[in-house]
Subunit: 149 residues, 2 copies
DNA sequence: TTAAAACTGTTTGAATTCAAACTATTATTT
DNA sequence: AAATAATAGTTTGAATTCAAACAGTTTTAA
């Protein structure tokens, strides 16, 4: 299938394929959101899904988990708060932190969203083997590690 | 190592790891560019590298290869042209197309850039096996395919 | 041959990302 | 204890991405 290509060539292709995945997912999510007339973006769904599962994270922790820069985080959480989907609280133990909680409204929306978020990942992994994904994961981790050194 | 996690969980982690890779790469490139006082962005390097190797692609083809949307492409190529690194030509055979060529100035810059672009990919793939990357690649391709259906 | 559909590139305005500088708070060193 | 360094969050302006609507050109179909 794949003729003789060196590692760097393959890395480039992997890079490309990942970018394409990002786009496919965005497009897919976009259509779903439109179909259902939800007033939310893919970026906000990502955060909402996280704070739905894990209550009281601070912004930096959220940023680390979903891999965004902290100024984007300020901006995105501002939007969640404006939409009444999340709220910020001061951390009494460390007043540098803002702890983020999902609101009732946020929970309701997320409960509506959850089925098709799951569906997306199921769709993405269709006909794939656990071991292959595990392997891909370790490749990605290793490349990450390499780049950070 | 990885305990019992279902496919969708793994897919999420893969997604996360890919986002992190994207950031690591950006950061790495950013430092290099600053160190060398190059007046160019990561996005423009991506395009420049492509039109250095392949002359006379149109904008849509470039967009497809580096995975960007075509309006971003107009914007980015505008910038390349402004910097004197590329030029647009009308395609006589199909007047919808604009064919993109690298300029002499662009070539010179790209020749300076090439060594460390290669270096980045070498660094990223350090200690990785061809077969593992091939596997990761096919996972990414399959997920892409799944999402597009 | 004409009408419709598909394709390329541009424009627009909004959303998001990005780097950098900044404030406030906490942790570490001296 | 005071000085210093590290951390969390905000702000700023610029860069990039994004979706949508559009104009011009070519291809396809009627």
């Amino acid at each position: 299938m794949e003729p003789t290509k060196n590692l760097t060539e393959l890395a480039r292709e992997l890079w490309r394929e990942m970018a394409e995945m990002r786009n496919s997912l965005r497009q897919y999510v976009h259509v779903k959101i439109k179909e259902n007339n939800w007033d939310i973006s893919m970026e906000l769904v990502e955060i909402l899904g996280l704070i739905y599962k894990r209550s009281g994270l601070n912004q930096q922790e959220i940023a680390d988990i979903i891999v965004k820069d902290k100024s984007s985080m300020t901006y995105l959480i501002d939007n969640l708060v404006k939409k009444g989907l999340a709220e910020r609280t001061e951390d009494q133990r460390d007043r540098r932190n803002k702890l983020i909680y999902i609101t009732e409204k946020g929970k309701l929306l997320m409960e509506e969203l959850t089925p098709w978020v799951t569906e997306i990942y199921e769709k993405a992994t269709r006909e794939l083997l656990t071991d292959d994904i595990l392997n891909a994961l370790s490749v990605a981790r290793k490349m990450n590690e390499n780049l950070k050194q």
